[in-house]
Subunit: 135 residues, 2 copies
DNA sequence: CCAGATAAATTGACGGATCAACCAATGCAA
DNA sequence: TTGCATTGGTTGATCCGTCAATTTATCTGG
């Protein structure tokens, strides 16, 4: 928990001067990955750690900042598709490099095989926890 | 981050039926550890991951539930000492066993040397992150 | 065709985290 | 001892996370 918290802070430090939170940044990256096709609201949530209901208000705030565009789907009128705007894309370009570098710096104390071993152990922990929590 | 989130959920699942959050449970454990002497507000915060300002409102909620007692110190009138009440102690007794068991279960997929190695790597990560964030 | 189940998304309510600003008490130095 | 910095704690504002309930739309079995 402590390590996760420090990683959070490290990313926050980078993203915050641009007026974004980490979650908002994550959503923008996911939407950039989705490209022209866009993505329904809940599909964004699935790609994040976070659960469903928070994602709506997160998108609300990004829409106010003109970084996200939303439109109800005609094919299935329950769905609302989301796209990143050019404003959002431009912001991401500024943040990408420092974020990538922060990731590299954070793990500079471990060599490659240690990182692999760390990831494996965390995956096994998650597997155990997944069954404890009922998949 | 994902693993930390699952651990959170696993503990939440246990603590929530008792009307507590994980943070409230943590505060109660810290205050039990402090015993008769009690603990000033900010000292509680230092023992948690959390930062200063949140702790006040967290204690407010625990005080409403009569699980915590607070009193301004006479020796240094800036400080506010906190104690766990008998109500809080009784609640902790009910939760301790399932919580301990949850910790054991979560790590049942790793043997002892693997857990040690995981902890070491996370500690080294935190050390790197600590210097990145300016101690 | 239509009643009920299910799915997508939203809203309200509440707890928690963080930042900035603030107040009161204490410590300290000239 | 008076003025100023520091410390302990609180408050306001904003965002995030989660639960329960709700709305609207789609699907499906009879």
């Amino acid at each position: 928990m402590r390590t996760a918290d420090l990683i959070q802070r490290n990313y926050h430090r980078i993203v915050e001067p641009h007026g974004l939170t980490i979650q908002q940044y994550n959503v923008l990256r996911i939407l950039r990955g989705a490209g022209e096709a866009g993505l329904p609201t809940l599909d964004i949530g699935e790609r994040m750690i976070e659960q469903t209901p928070g994602i709506t208000r997160l998108l609300d705030r990004l829409e106010v900042k003109k970084m996200v565009r939303r439109q109800r789907s005609e094919r299935d009128r329950r769905q609302v598709f989301c796209w990143i705007t050019p404003v959002g894309l431009r912001l991401l370009e500024d943040i990408d490099t420092p974020i990538d570098q922060a990731g590299i710096d954070a793990f500079s104390g471990l060599d490659e095989s240690e990182v692999r071993s760390l990831i494996l152990k965390l995956e096994r922990l998650r597997q155990t926890l997944g069954t404890l929590l009922g998949e």
